[in-house]
């Protein structure tokens, strides 16, 4: 187990290294002189330009810039935001937490709603229930989250006055309360995805011989269900791992709609402002979360599937 995790961790770190290079390269993809971009509309004096070049190490060769940046990143320093002149780490600290909270909550919602529905639909494949949920899920995948968010806001925020309309509250429980509607909005499309994945996985397990065999020897529905779910868990967990990453990266529209100060909204504005250090940091952090989720899924896989344990590393 330890060896398995160690090897996967090493692979993940390599992956992140490669990603960091891509992410850093984004800065250099930006058209024009980065220093001019950093200065924005101000009338740049040669001294100011030189100062900026020094501050952002633009006078160094590209690879050296990259290694210096990487070194900083490894020490959790992401540079200084151009827009607000604040260390990016400070800027991101709370926002990452909020976005993680949001992602986590919608993930829980996704799993709590999408997965059971998927199981139920697969169990009754072809039934009216199955068709209804399947068709709704297809609509869920296509519905723009902005529109979903506003509809939810209108119904639950303004009309029924159950949930707050905007913002992230005052921390603690209040924040979780504020995140309910955004999380539902986010979970709407992705829950549909989770539903689909679960339904497919469970339906294909239900086709397996071991299910017929289990019934034939008198196992009850709930016993068979336990059998099937354990087997279906493997493909479902893999997909849900990806879903979590997707959620984390997909918070932009929801954060804008609900006025949440997470990293999605910050990213949108930072891109507009070409606040490259912030963009780099957010992209890298998001990619890291996705990669670590994949790692977690691998470990889970390892724990759940004895065959993988046996085979060990491929």
């Amino acid at each position: 187990m330890a060896r398995f995790i160690a090897v996967r961790l090493a692979a993940t770190l390599l992956l992140l290294l490669a990603l960091s290079f891509i992410v850093f390269g984004l800065l250099h993809l930006t058209p024009g002189d980065p220093a001019r971009n950093l200065l924005g509309p101000r009338n740049p004096s040669p001294e100011a330009l030189a100062a900026i070049r020094e501050k952002y190490r633009l006078d160094e060769p590209f690879l050296r810039q990259y290694f210096l940046w990487l070194n900083d990143v490894l020490h959790f320093r992401f540079g200084t935001s151009i827009r607000s002149d604040t260390p990016v780490t400070t800027l991101l600290a709370d926002r990452v937490v909020l976005t993680l909270q949001l992602a986590l909550m919608s993930f829980v919602l996704t799993v709590a709603v999408g997965v059971p529905l998927g199981i139920a639909a697969a169990w009754r494949a072809g039934s009216l229930f199955d068709r209804t949920v399947s068709v709704s899920s297809v609509i869920g995948v296509g519905a723009p989250s902005y529109a979903v968010g506003l509809v939810l806001l209108y119904v639950f925020g303004v009309w029924l006055e159950i949930f707050p309309v905007y913002g992230s509250g005052d921390g603690g429980l209040d924040t979780w309360w504020h995140l309910v509607l955004p999380a539902i909005t986010l979970a709407f499309g992705i829950g549909a995805l989770a539903f689909k994945v679960t339904r497919t996985a469970v339906a294909s397990e239900l086709q397996q011989d071991y299910v017929a065999f289990a019934y034939s020897r008198g196992l009850t529905h709930s016993q068979v269900r336990a059998l099937v779910l354990r087997n279906a868990l493997i493909p479902v967990a893999t997909s849900l791992g990806l879903v979590f990453g997707f959620l984390f990266g997909g918070t932009i529209l929801v954060e804008v709609t609900f006025a949440l100060s997470g990293i999605g909204g910050l990213l949108a504005s930072s891109v507009t402002f070409k606040d490259i250090p912030v963009v780099q940091a957010i992209t890298l952090i998001t990619a890291a979360v996705i990669a670590l989720t994949a790692l977690a899924v691998d470990v889970l896989y390892y724990a759940v599937d004895p065959r993988v344990r046996q085979r060990g590393l491929r």
């Binding site: 101000r42 002149d85 925020g157």
Partner: protein, 546 residues
Amino acid sequence: MSQPLSVSRRALLQGAGGSALLLLIAACGDDNASVTTTGGTDGGEGIDTTGPATAEEIDTLTVAFPSSLSNIYPGQEAGNFNYYVAVLVAEALAAPDSTGKLVGALAESWTQPDATTYVYTLRSGVTFSDGSALTADDIVYSVGLAKDEAMSPNTAYYWANVDKAEKTADNEVTITLLSPDVAFEWGPVAANAMWVTAERFVTAAGGELGTPAALFTGTGPYKVTSFEPDKGVELERVDTYWGGKAPVKTVKIEFIPEETTRLLARKAGDIDMAISISLDQEQQWKDTDATDVLFAADRSYVGIDFNTAVEPFDDIHVRKAIALACDRATYVEKLINGHGEVATALTVPQQIESVVGDKAREMLAVVYDLPFDLEAAKAELALSKVPDGFSCKVGVSSSAPQVSQFFQALAATVKDMGITIEVEEMPVEQWYGTIGSPDWGLAYMWYFNATGDPAELISWFLAEGNPASYTSEEVAALLQQQREEADPALRVDLIIEAQRLAMEDIPYVPLWWGEAATAIDDAFTIDDFGSYTLLSPWTTRILTKG
């Protein structure tokens, strides 16, 4: 001349920097100085004048801004909304009154013994929000702070012409300029380029000012109790404020970037006031229960810039043809829902009203008055080097949808003349790059005046290095003259004459002067609401209706 230019650019940044998208401009016929209050539940007719307003204590006022702030010290981040917060917390030597005239703030009065020397007499009994007294040393320090490029990149340029600031008595500070500049009076104003604080606060802030970890402390009627970028600011009343106790005890400023969400927040009763609401949603705000919508000119100018150094715009016939094709009255009516007025000059009327009063529009009308006349436009194009038309592109900030629509409408109009205008939307930062760029012959300016100085825009737009690459010795001479003219009325004449002269060559086409809308719970009213309201401690003017 580089220093006014810098001011202007900073002011431009204020307007455009992330907030212009939400700064909605509105028109109000010709009587722009007055404020129209409409709304309420009855669908928005008439002016709500129920009962006299009283300065009753208001426990909490929740105000929604349409964009977020990442730093509340405007020296670091200068957007309109940073100013709206800053003026509640910190003050400077002078402040604009409701007409834009400068009156004393921390300075009781000031004198100008010669063209480059300003002597400010400080108000006594002023304390910081922590209770400590304000001293002349603090003023001197604050000038230094505003001048410091590292601490205040957004204001340093403004102070470049300042030779020194020194304490000349216990309650007196003298500021000396390198060269005469009448517009300097607007420097030590909290709505523009100075916020008085004390060295010990800045030291305590560890060099980072205006961040959540290092809030800045001033002498204003409020102190910041919490600030979370992208979320909101909370302000607490300072009971020792020299100007008296404000009626609102706690001001909560929330950042809600999505317009519809902000509207829903109001409908749910979560916010009391919303600044710069979307004009497209005017009716929905008005239809919201217990909500008044107030309009006031925001002293913004929107107009076309031709780069006269770029073909084919080096040809006056081309410029004139396009100018004649602009149906400005319709744009004002349709694109900004009538909340604004057709611009006739670079200077907006409110900049000169404090000097010339009601005659402002009449005086500005002489600057530019080309009518909408397609036939004339065609005739004009026929005279040009490109009689069969040409193609060009124009870069529009994605935060300025009305401008994008304007250019699309213009493009449709001039298509028959053989002119193809391709509108490209781009992030605001990239739009800056189009201004005065040789790659973009056709550009536009959406400019928010930061100060009340009448020459603010022309000292960029008509001066050397202007975005139109326009040069005229006569105009330059007039510009220099106004800079040193001490008599405000005569100065206004010079300013108008300079642009009138320049506009004969049509380097610019003024389109409209904008208006902004503020929504507020109809239990409250804002005393003497106008163009300058939000640039002075505005929450002190919020009163409860009887």
